[in-house]
């Protein structure tokens, strides 16, 4: 487990590609996950209402940066892309309505909720988004309010973690390459 954990912290440099499908789970488990877990723990302690299926941090380009350790949504990268797309559509609505800066978007289903919340701006073009996947009974408002206390910590974690900064900075071509290598490794292992 320790080995996997350390690879997860250093996923651009690692040469060890065995157990890739297990690693896939750990790639998004890093220092930021601790912060997301604390947020979840605070929620459980204070309310414990409903079920939070996972927290996922992405940039507005849909690049997944970290997930809570209890994340139960399949394929975090896909989930991240969908969340970022939702924020992208919301930004179009912003232009259409002549509204101010995008803050949050929420989609509610009979049994689920997806909440996309802007945490901060990374630079002029990119922002940091928190995606909350929950069932219909969860109190998203509480998490959102609580999250404001964690913004500084998240920003610090990113500042101090080279790999996360690299993820934010890498180009679309590079990210495609990394994901292709992962897919190839998963297929190899299944064979």
């Amino acid at each position: 487990m320790d080995k996997l954990q350390s690879n997860g912290e250093d996923w651009f440099n690692t040469q060890e590609r065995e157990e890739e499908d297990k690693l896939r789970h750990f790639y998004l488990t890093n220092k930021l996950s601790d912060t997301l877990d604390s947020l979840l723990e605070a929620y459980k302690r204070m309310l414990g209402k409903g079920d939070i299926e996972g927290l996922l941090l992405v940039d507005s380009d849909g690049k997944a940066l970290a997930k809570s350790r209890s994340f139960r949504i399949k394929n975090a990268w896909n989930a991240g892309a969908l969340g970022a797309a939702l924020a992208g559509v919301a930004r179009q609505v912003e232009k259409h309505l002549g509204a101010d800066e995008f803050q949050n978007a929420m989609v509610m289903y009979k049994s689920k909720q997806l909440y996309v919340c802007k945490i901060s701006d990374i630079n002029e073009d990119k922002s940091l988004l928190l995606l909350i996947f929950a069932n219909e009974r969860a109190n998203i408002g509480f998490i959102r309010a609580k999250m404001t206390q964690y913004v500084k910590r998240i920003e610090e974690d990113i500042k101090n973690n080279e790999n996360i900064r690299k993820t934010i900075e890498i180009s679309e071509e590079q990210i495609e390459d990394v994901l292709n290598r992962l897919d190839a490794a998963v297929i190899r292992e299944k064979d």
Binding site: D61, G62, W77, A81, A85, G88, V89, Q92, K126, E172
Partner: protein, 191 residues
């Protein structure tokens, strides 16, 4: 954003057509959309939009609608471009739902063959041969591009699928592709 065929009403003379652009990343889907916008500037209805990343890669869709009058009918064409990157599969399937015709935009450069095949196979799996497909061999202006006929062979296109050479960035060949594509779409609607 999704166009439903039931909105088409031949009796009232209004025919709405949903056109989807599909293809690998950076094959020129958005460039084609912009080229079409240049061809018919006076016919654009509503506000076109692009939901894209900081690198100008489509993250959800780009959209353009325009109206053409052929009395007694009035046509509204809704064009949606899908995402090209492998990691955004989840988004493009939603965008492409209920399409009347799909334009597969391939990158004709030799080294992009694998990406073209991957994206085309994905499209075939998605459409299940129920939606007409037109293929555009884009980037014919580049020196390392293959001919449309070579691309037809490489992709294994059946003779029923038309393929056209084009250079969207130079606005060459785009009109012909578009004209034949809308003919197919209308034929598909009236079947």
């Amino acid at each position: 954003m999704e166009q439903d065929k039931t909105q088409t009403n031949f009796n009232e003379g209004l025919i709405q057509v949903k056109i989807v652009f599909w293809g690998p990343a950076s094959s020129g889907k958005t460039t084609n959309l912009r080229a079409i916008a240049k061809l018919f500037p006076q016919n654009i209805t509503g506000q076109p939009y692009e939901v894209s990343t900081s690198e100008e890669r489509t993250i959800w869709e780009d959209y353009l609608a325009f109206q053409l009058e052929f009395p007694p009918y009035s046509f509204i064409f809704h064009i949606h471009t899908t995402t090209g990157q492998k990691r955004f599969l989840a988004t493009r399937e939603q965008v492409a739902k209920n399409a009347d015709v799909v334009l597969f935009i391939a990158d004709s450069q030799e080294h992009r063959l694998k990406d073209n095949i991957r994206s085309y196979e994905e499209l075939i799996a998605f459409t299940e041969n129920k939606i007409p497909i037109v293929v555009e061999a884009n980037k014919q202006d580049l020196p390392n591009s293959v001919t449309p006929e070579k691309l037809r062979q490489d992709l294994g296109l059946p003779s029923s699928i038309p393929i056209y050479g084009a250079s969207a960035v130079k606005c060459k060949g785009v009109y012909k592709v578009f004209r034949d594509m809308i003919r197919l779409a209308i034929r598909n609607q009236t079947r």
